[in-house]
Point group: C2
Chain length 254, copies 2
Amino acid sequence: MNNIGVLNVDAEAAAGWSAGLAPRAISGLTEAETAIFIAVRGAIVEQRLLPGTRLIEEELAAIYQASRMRIRRVLLALAHEGVIDLPPGRGATVACPTPDEARSVFQARRLIEVGMVEAQVGPIAPALAGVLRACCDAETEAGLVRDRARMIAASGRFHVELTRGLGNSVLVEIVSNLVGRSSLIIALFQRHPALCCRMDDHQRLLDALVAGRVKAAAGLMRAHLAAIEAGLDVAMTPTETSDLRFVLGRPDAG
Amino acid sequence: MNNIGVLNVDAEAAAGWSAGLAPRAISGLTEAETAIFIAVRGAIVEQRLLPGTRLIEEELAAIYQASRMRIRRVLLALAHEGVIDLPPGRGATVACPTPDEARSVFQARRLIEVGMVEAQVGPIAPALAGVLRACCDAETEAGLVRDRARMIAASGRFHVELTRGLGNSVLVEIVSNLVGRSSLIIALFQRHPALCCRMDDHQRLLDALVAGRVKAAAGLMRAHLAAIEAGLDVAMTPTETSDLRFVLGRPDAG
DNA sequence: AACCCCAATATTGTTCACAATCAACCTGAT
DNA sequence: ATCAGGTTGATTGTGAACAATATTGGGGTT
């Protein structure tokens, strides 16, 4: 009952959505509902809310000062997004992906993200390089301060922005979703709770892309994703969960 | 007001879901809601409900004898699935994909489906070949009878089942979604309303896969998807819509 | 004839109270 | 000590009524 802070709907959370979601409105949700969606999703993806944590409708309604009905719609959208489990009649919990799902998510990412890099010809556009450079910088900076949430957000943003640059809006939807679920998988199964994966993977990938070394870039992307997956121990079954209000709460909703 | 028949929740509709959806329950929906979801999605994907058609909550509630609240949840799920538009306050309509979305969907399909075939080594498993053969046969049979809906369903099932065999559950989710949206795109933009794409594309692709000619198979998949996209005229703006009750109705809900 | 504005209707959005269900706990027996 | 059973409280599911909003059609005007 002391998660009041993890679920802020503000600039903090805005950095969160970049970790895995396009800025446009979520289909079928109002603007207000979308804000809640983004805040909760951000907290989950940034591992401030751990897998298995229960999400009580009334608590969320109090935190966001919204009616239960709206919370319900948001929960349904989050379930479809794959970041919460929502079995009928027994409430919502932060999703606990299965080992099988973990493998499938990373296989899909290898197929899509490596393929996208391979399809590129020549160096990437300077504008895209700038965006990606900013992501790398943000990741490095967060790492120095040991800010795990910001690191995860910046790391995810790198993959999403790369997809926006090399792919299209539909691929951004897909990769955003996969990146978010990857974060859950890492939260559940990562062997050594290091702050993150090797920090310079993105940097070296970016260098190869800027230099137009497509084959090398594709290899780096494949190795990057393989390294993350290799760091998982799918036999693990952690039990720790989070305090909802502390993680999501707003100052005034204490 | 005479669509009572397009929205059946029965064997007819069951063939429909195969066109684009995994059999497992939709996350966050009850069994009953899932059945409605599958029925409506099937009607849309099989082009029995044309883009732009309005979906009135009370009409759907009457057709499926469900409360408006349940219909509402189903509509939200359909919106997230991308098969309906659901702007807040102005009701649901069968989605009208934009030309940009059309291009993006097919680019994503080329990346994923061609990549999956390329990653295959050797001939595909006999069991998978059998499933795919059945899809081809169903498609051919439906073509002889000029049953457009069944053709679309069988054609979509081919792509989904191929993904199930060569990929994994996450890729099946993704490809199912893309196949469904492709059907909407074709309904909107297809230049010559031929019954479908070249009927023997799937057959030849299957032959190459069975023979273990991976490179050839990948080329056939790429050409197949490119041919469909080439047949589109994204400048078209059709206005025809469907009668909801006629398409979705049940005999007893007349 | 085309356009704009306003009223009537249809449709969606919201709230409330209550029913149904599930989880936790406590009791008691083996 | 462990487990079965029942009871209590918390949480979710449901329905109906009402409010807000959008669409439709008509009438008037230019």
